[in-house]
């Protein structure tokens, strides 16, 4: 496996551990990671948190945004105005029936609704929004949130 795949699975792996697992030297691993960070190949490191379990109330909404692209700058300028809000956790340019997808987090329904109506939909160039609230997360970043079944097998001998 290469360094990126290993880090994607567990960002806490140390350079020493990565070196062992990839057969490279520690120096080489450090150099490669540094380069990845500089080039923004690795954009950051964060834990995948199941907020439901953390008992911290949080509301997540998936928002479809239609925009009228600006001359010369296309979608970039509008996207920037959208993703610059700290409430917007994820932002994609999409193909299909809408243009920009934003994942927004807030402490309750009202907060998210207000943010969409007062901030997002008033951005010049945004023609319409459609808000979908997340009811439950099953899987994120390849991690399944449901607890695994405990191994109930009796002794296996082979």
């Amino acid at each position: 496996m290469d360094i990126l795949e290993l880090l994607k699975q567990d960002a806490r792996l140390t350079a020493q551990e990565l070196a062992v697992m990839t057969g490279k030297t520690v120096e080489e691993v450090e150099r490669v990671i540094k380069q990845y960070e500089q080039d923004k190949v690795i954009a950051g490191y964060s834990a995948v948190i199941n907020w439901e379990k953390a008992k911290d109330d949080i509301v997540i909404a998936f928002i479809e945004i239609r925009v009228a692209p600006e001359r010369d700058r296309g979608f970039e300028e509008i996207a920037k105005r959208i993703y610059s809000y700290k409430q917007v956790k994820t932002c994609y340019l999409m193909s299909g029936s809408f243009d920009i997808a934003a994942i927004v987090e807030g402490k309750d329904l009202k907060e998210v609704a207000l943010f969409v109506t007062q901030k997002l939909s008033t951005i010049s160039g945004v023609t319409s929004t459609s808000t979908h609230f997340v009811l439950k997360k099953y899987k994120e970043n390849e991690l399944v949130f449901e607890e695994e079944e405990k191994d109930q097998r009796e002794a296996i001998v082979l």
């Binding site: 496996m1 795949e5 290993l6 062992v20 697992m21 990839t22 002794a155 296996i156 001998v157 082979l158």
Partner: protein, 389 residues
């Protein structure tokens, strides 16, 4: 009057149960144990394969299949074996789909060995070979492989074990429990030598897909041995399908036509929906196999290095998913070491002696376990090693 146990054949009675048994019994009722014991992938079968089995059940594919197994599956296997190892087995009469590679080994041995015959078994090795040979009434002849030679087989060693009665030899590379592999260049002299002898080779290549950093060579690839090899493989390890029990055996048609009788009378056929799922495994899951292999490889490097850092001597495994460290320095026997590691530090590994006497002074640990488990196990083993100094 005879008691029930007096009816048991002496060959069965004399064969001890698997040495791994004891550890799983000890484990019972203990909490917080990290098990690097069971030799099976920690990955669940890829969803695509599970979904195929569900689909087969929904379609009502619940009947017997032909004794040899579904032709479509045999064709897919034949193609895969040709593409990967340049082996040529006719799907019509040279392949039997079995209930795990275990059945394949059993029927292979039963079809060629019996009373008065000898079967050479290089050791340390998978626990079942000796038992399967014993049950037929044939004699299992141990051939001790040495760590100094990376647990590889040599012509010299082989020569010393061969007698007029030698009927077969069981080859198993990549090897359980040692993780040893043999390259084409290393196998060639063995093939040359055996091609001039009237000896069959049962080649158990269940770990073929788990070969790291090099291409696996099948013993059946050697032209001069092709007709004298009984090739055994299965889906358990490569596709993480241990519980499905699906294997296969390929050989010369004159062997298969006889072997099929044992399979027919004892088993009838491998489960039908499992066979259907296996077709999709072969056709669609190469990517999963590669991903799992890469993952094992990273863990292999981690555990091998971890053991070395603790100061445990360990031969570098190049295949399967086991490390086989040498613990002679500790002055403990394999069993003492493993008993104490389990009771005092709650890590389950298997003593080398479970894999024949040649395993004394070693233990087997599997790295088909999460990195988290491996890390914690290494910490505990390190603590244990410190108490021994």
């Amino acid at each position: 009057m005879k008691k029930p146990k007096d009816f048991i054949r002496s060959e069965v009675e004399k064969t001890p149960p698997s040495g791994i048994r004891k550890y799983f019994d000890m484990l019972h009722g203990m909490d917080d144990v990290i098990s690097l014991g069971v030799g099976e992938p920690d990955f669940t079968t890829p969803w695509q394969i599970r979904e195929s089995a569900i689909h087969a059940l929904e379609k009502g594919r619940t009947h017997y299949t032909s004794n040899n197994g579904i032709l479509q599956l045999r064709e897919a296997l034949s193609l895969m074996l040709h593409q990967k190892y340049n082996l040529n087995y006719d799907p019509k009469d040279q392949i039997i789909i079995t209930v795990g590679a275990s059945e394949a080994i059993d029927i292979a041995i039963r079809s060629i060995a019996g009373c008065g015959d000898e079967v050479i078994i290089p050791q340390p090795c998978f626990v079942a070979y000796k038992g399967c040979v014993n049950f037929t009434g044939a004699k299992a002849v141990p051939l001790q492989l040495s760590e100094d030679n990376c647990f590889k087989l040599t012509v010299d060693q082989l020569e010393k074990c061969i007698t007029d009665k030698t009927k077969a030899i069981i080859l198993a590379y990549p090897n359980n429990p040692t993780g040893a592999v043999m390259t084409k260049e290393e196998l060639a002299p063995i093939a040359d030598y055996l091609s001039k002898k009237d000896i069959m080779v049962i080649s158990d290549e269940i770990y073929a897909e788990l070969t790291y950093g090099m291409k696996h060579t099948s013993f059946a690839e050697f032209e001069n041995m092709h007709d004298k090899v009984i090739y055994v493989n299965g889906f358990s390890k490569a596709y993480s399908m241990t519980g499905w029990r699906l294997g296969y055996v390929c050989a010369h048609r004159d062997i298969i036509s006889q072997m099929i009788k044992i399979h027919q009378y004892a088993i009838m056929c491998a489960p039908s929906f499992v066979q259907y799922a296996a077709i999709d495994a072969l056709k669609q899951c190469d990517g999963d196999v590669i991903n799992m292999r890469n993952e094992y490889d990273a863990r292999r490097r981690y555990i091998y290095n971890g053991l070395k850092n603790i100061g445990i001597d360990c031969f570098e495994p190049k295949g399967a998913f086991y490390v086989f460290p040498n613990i002679r320095k500790t002055g403990l026997t394999s069993e003492q070491f493993c008993d104490r590691l389990l009771m005092e530090h709650k890590v389950l590994v298997v003593p080398g002696t479970a894999f024949s006497d040649a395993g004394e002074g070693f233990f087997r640990a599997t790295y088909a376990s999460s990195l988290e488990n491996i890390k914690e196990a290494l910490k505990r083993i390190e603590r244990f090693m410190k108490t021994l100094k």
